[in-house]
Symmetry: C2
Subunit: 70 residues, 2 copies
Amino acid sequence: MKNRLEELRKERGIKQDELAEALEVSRQTIGSLENGRYNPSIILAFKIAEFFNMSIEEIFIYRENVNHEK
Amino acid sequence: MKNRLEELRKERGIKQDELAEALEVSRQTIGSLENGRYNPSIILAFKIAEFFNMSIEEIFIYRENVNHEK
DNA sequence: ATCTTATGTAAAGCATACTTTCCATGGCGA
DNA sequence: TCGCCATGGAAAGTATGCTTTACATAAGAT
């Protein structure tokens, strides 16, 4: 599963450290998610979505959408 | 975290067994989710949402809890 | 060149998700 | 009653998420 964590974090101009603190996880957890070492729990996914004010589906890409109709 | 699994499954008139097979998990996993013994992984949450043709947010109800719900 | 800051990553340990196996209970049809 | 059938749930084992600790590296500033 892919995610847009690094992209979204950098858009906000914040450090892994700061995001980690906001989400109440360790910096290593953020790094691991950004680099795809593992997937978040659903609880953490909800926290991340809440932080970025987006839906889980907008941040975590379960399946590439091969269908490119508008 | 609460979820609408049992409700949605019964709406469709299917058994735990059948849902489990469709999602490629065990019947006990479905039962455990319906009865709140644990939360799904984000992968399973995506599979469930896909099965019911809904968003994760429509099926799983997350609310920030003062007591740091896990 | 040295120092600092942001990030990458690994190891060990604990918590949670999920499995298989097993048994219990309530509803229902014959 | 009797025998299924759908569900609940425990127990033990494996896989994965997350923590703390620790060290490495690259880039930028002084």
